[in-house]
């Protein structure tokens, strides 16, 4: 890594436009260049210079590297390729977050704030959807807008669920937990974050071209014939997927190679295990979805006909390739959060994590099995095909390792001393929510029951119980747990409790009735429904608005406490893992000395050895 002189550091981004703004300019230039290349080739071929979809695809593919270079990759990375001196982007104050910063703690905060913003926007879209669904018939959006907003909501939330927890806490906390100074590849780490803004901006711009109406799953042939927004979706998926792959290489290398002395696999905090297996899943499976959406894009822009039945293509093939990633992806969404949950429960029960090895086995088992269950999303493609039975078996088998996570959770709180601080409330709520999500998933894995439940609100309720009830609750559990570490300040406990209870009650009142709606003939992704279902839908909408309001409480607390909260001290929760053995926030290289792990991370016995000693200049 290049070392920079202090003068250069000040020059880099310390004044003038933040690098993020320069990145946008460069990105725009890249876009124009890419579109121009297409126009020139087309003009030379004599087929007319302008074709919007081709220009957008190539333009965007040019604009992404241009954007990344513009936000500072040029100075910190690109110059080195030409034998020039490189500089590190590290201005003081808020500016550090607006450029190609290599510090994993800065990148963790960038991820957290970015995806909280996306979460709030996509949540606002959900409020619009529930307004439309307050009563039958047309309310505010009408069917065309509803379907597009539904697609946007779904896809943005999928990105939040896949990225927020590993992006924020995998980056900020995990390296400190393993006693490392930074991630293994800091520049790749910055790259993984800065690939996201172009993808997110593209999605937010998609309504300008009419959005897309295939939901987040993007099935052809519908995806081959609808609005230009479908291409925005595909490009965002490819670039976001690239970010996931880059990040997972980094997570895996950091966990395998950079653990502190003494941090054996048997002492590894459970959250690090969860991030490790999440990294394995992302690395193995993400390219599959990129292939699927790229094939659809090629069908559209160059007439490839992979999925065009009239030309010998097979539309169902898309679903296989898509779900080959997208089922493991739902475990990418929940495993890190389950890791957060199992990290919090021992700390606030003052007990070791119960059945640690079983829990690790559970996380590994979920990850292995998640690769062989994809076609359970497709039972109704060919309802009586024998192959469905195999996928029913593998899907129901996954309940066993998932059960081991519950074993560890309930075993940990049993005979503990439950200190009901806000992170603990969220962790306990996750056990409850994920239990409902898991059990209702078993119904969907059963082929006969799935005939009725597939593509109904039962599915909507089920996946919100798993992905929001566990995944997003885990995000907020992690935010409250590590907020003092990241900001050095304590949040307002009272407001945090208000947020928790509003979110927990609002969430359950919103999604529990949806199971009933699904059973009673309400299919998913619809702008309108049978009038008989109106009262329950009105109730769901009102509960949904209440749930939405809970995040206003959170936002207020989050912003005000970050600026003015009382100092939290290094270890307000009395936790043992390494991130609590350093100051809040930690110094640039995380520790004042070199940490050595000497004990268990969850041994709360009064006479237990510490988890780690920090060696400062030979002294402990």
């Amino acid at each position: 890594m290049a070392t920079a002189t202090p003068q250069v550091e000040r020059r880099l981004g310390a004044s003038g436009l933040p690098f993020a703004a320069r990145g946008l300019l460069w990105g725009l230039g890249g876009f124009v260049l890419g579109a121009a290349v297409v126009a020139i080739i087309r003009a030379l071929a004599g087929v007319g210079a302008w074709r919007a979809d081709q220009a957008i695809v190539v333009g965007f593919l040019f604009s992404v590297p241009a954007f990344v270079l513009g936000v500072g990759a040029w100075e910190t990375w690109g110059r080195g390729w030409f034998g020039l001196e490189t500089y590190e982007y590290d201005p003081p104050g808020w500016r550090r977050y607006f450029g190609f910063n290599l510090d994993h703690k800065v990148i963790g905060v960038q991820y957290l704030v970015t995806f909280l913003t996306v979460f709030i926007l996509a949540g606002a879209v959900a409020m619009l959807m529930r307004t439309e669904l307050m009563d039958p018939g047309r309310t505010v959006l009408g069917p065309a807008s509803f379907t597009r907003f539904m697609s946007l909501h779904g896809f943005l939330m999928v990105l939040v669920a896949v990225t927020a927890v590993p992006g924020a806490f995998g980056n900020y906390v995990m390296p400190i937990m393993v006693g490392a100074e930074d991630m293994a590849f800091p520049r790749l780490n910055a790259l993984s974050f800065w690939l996201w803004p172009p993808a997110i901006l593209l999605l937010l711009a998609s309504p300008l071209v009419g959005g897309w109406d295939t939901g987040w799953t993007g099935y052809p042939p519908l995806a081959s014939v609808n609005n230009l927004g479908q291409i925005f979706y595909a490009l965002a998926f490819v670039v976001g997927g690239l970010s996931s792959i880059v990040a997972s290489v980094n997570f895996l290398t950091t966990i395998v190679k950079m653990r502190a002395r003494g941090l054996t696999w048997g002492r590894l905090p459970i959250f690090v295990w969860a991030i490790l297996l999440t990294g394995v899943l992302s690395l193995f499976f993400t390219q599959s979805v990129a292939v699927a959406v790229t094939m659809v894009t090629l069908d559209r822009i160059v007439g490839a006909a992979f999925f065009e039945p009239l030309l010998g293509g097979a539309p169902v093939l898309y679903q296989h390739i898509f779900w080959f990633y997208s089922h493991p992806a739902v475990y990418v969404m929940v495993l890190p959060s389950l890791g957060v949950m199992l990290e919090i429960l021992p700390v606030f029960s003052r007990k070791p994590l119960f059945a640690y090895r079983w829990a690790v086995g559970g996380i590994i088992g979920i990850s292995v099995l998640s690769g062989v269950v994809w076609a359970h999303h497709m039972f109704t493609v060919s309802a009586l095909s024998n192959a469905n039975a195999g996928f029913m078996l593998s899907t129901e088998a996954i309940s066993v390792p998932t059960g081991l996570v519950f074993l560890s959770a309930v075993g940990t709180i049993w005979r503990g001393r439950l200190w009901m601080k806000v992170p603990m409330l969220f962790a306990l709520a996750m056990v409850f929510n994920f239990l409902i999500g898991g059990i209702t998933g078993v119904f969907l894995s059963d082929i006969p029951a799935d005939y009725q439940l597939q593509d109904t609100y039962w599915v909507v309720a089920h996946f919100h119980y798993t992905i929001v009830g566990a995944g997003i609750f885990g995000l907020f559990a992690g935010i409250y747990y590590w907020f003092p570490k990241i900001t050095g300040r304590m949040f307002d406990e009272r407001l945090a409790r208000v947020h928790f209870w509003m979110m927990f009650v609002g969430f359950n009142l919103t999604f529990l009735p949806m199971f009933w709606l699904g059973l009673n003939g309400m299919n998913r992704r619809i702008a309108d429904y049978q009038p008989e279902l109106a009262p329950v839908n009105l109730f769901v909408s009102l509960a949904g608005f209440f749930l939405g309001a809970s995040f206003l409480v959170f936002l207020w607390n989050f912003v005000v406490s970050w600026k003015k909260g009382p100092p939290a001290g290094p270890n307000p929760w009395g936790a043992r893992t390494l991130e609590w053995q350093t100051s809040s926030p930690p110094p640039k290289l995380n520790f004042e000395g070199i940490p050595e792990v000497v004990g268990d991370p969850y041994d709360f016995a009064p006479d237990a050895p510490r988890h780690a000693e920090i060696e400062v200049g030979g002294e402990r």
């Binding site: 047309r138 009408g142 069917p143 379907t147 109406d213 939901g215 099935y219 052809p220 042939p221 519908l222 609808n226 039945p309 539309p315 029960s349 003052r350 007990k351 119960f354 059945a355 640690y356 109704t380 493609v381 309802a383 009586l384 039975a389 029913m392 129901e396 309940s399 066993v400 059960g403 081991l404 074993l407 309930v410 075993g411 005979r415 503990g416 001393r417 439950l418 200190w419 009901m420 409850f432 239990l435 078993v442 059963d446 082929i447 006969p448 029951a449 005939y451 009725q452 593509d455 009933w516 059973l519 009673n520 003939g521 299919n523 992704r525 702008a527 309108d528 049978q530 008989e532 709360f604």
Partner: protein, 271 residues
């Protein structure tokens, strides 16, 4: 009774109470709407069986959660009992959950699946071809030579085994009549099939779940892509079909394409 033992007994009792309450609730509340097909009985059986199995599982975790939160709640941090594992309990949990997964795979999973498969091999009494089109259904009764474009209603005979042949003219759609319980995608370039035996006379007006609803997102008009189904006595059906077949040759007995594009067959245009 030692404190340890009391904790186990009280939690066990709480579990039993929750299971009893759960069973009483699912027995008194019918979650599923009225069933109107023979084949759908397998679906309901599977659903209700799983519902019954899930009660003790749900109740167990809930009992531990509730008891622990009430019993061991503290206001200031305090050291808990340093239990790392109880191997007999963990092994028991693993074996019981494996056995449960195996059980539900065999029944209601495989048993229901095989029952549906074997029902599908029996000879049908009537063939109906359905073509999904953005955003309506075209219906054909090939034996009678009747083809209806975007009809306002689909007639079926009660107690007759109907074999649907499904395809699509554009994007993927899916056949779903909630009261029949069965679902099957209609895929362009392919023909899929589904066999259903409506059990009784019924109509959309009496039960909104007696409708053919598209269940696979197919674009803007997806929500409205449904058509009421009317199940009538076989004799009435035959009479109607004969009339419709004559109508095909001559004047306006066909059930009328109204050229809807957004509102589907149902005809409520919401613009």
């Amino acid at each position: 009774m030692s404190g340890r033992r009391r904790d186990l007994v009280v939690t066990g009792a709480l579990w039993v109470v929750l299971v009893i309450v759960g069973v009483l609730v699912v027995r008194s509340v019918d979650l599923l709407p009225a069933l109107r097909s023979e084949e759908g009985a397998e679906v309901d059986l599977a659903f209700n069986t799983l519902l019954l199995y899930s009660i003790p599982v749900f109740a167990f975790v809930l009992a531990v959660l509730l008891y622990s939160v009430v019993r061991w709640r503290v206001d200031e941090p305090e050291t808990g009992d340093q239990i790392r594992d109880v191997p007999a309990f963990s092994w028991g949990w693993f074996l019981v959950s494996t056995a449960l997964a195996g059980l539900i795979f065999v029944t209601p999973g495989l048993t229901g699946f095989f029952a549906l498969q074997s029902a599908a091999t029996e000879e049908p009494d009537l063939e109906v071809r359905l073509t999904g089109v953005q955003w309506h259904w075209d219906v054909e009764y090939p034996e009678a030579g009747v083809a209806l474009e975007a009809p306002q209603e689909i007639l079926l005979p009660a107690d007759r085994r109907v074999r649907f042949e499904l395809t699509s003219a554009d994007v993927i759609h899916a056949f779903w009549v909630p009261a029949f319980r069965l679902k099957q995608d209609a895929i362009p370039g392919e023909t899929t099939e589904l066999i259903v035996t409506p059990t009784e006379v019924s109509s959309y007006d009496a039960d909104p779940n007696v409708r053919l609803q598209c269940a696979e997102l197919c674009g803007t008009g997806h929500a409205r892509m449904y058509v009421p189904v009317r199940v009538v006595e076989p004799a009435e059906f035959e009479a109607w079909l004969t009339g419709a077949a004559m109508g095909m040759g001559g004047d306006g007995m066909d059930m009328g394409s109204d050229g809807m594009d957004m509102g589907g067959n149902a005809g409520h245009d919401e613009g």
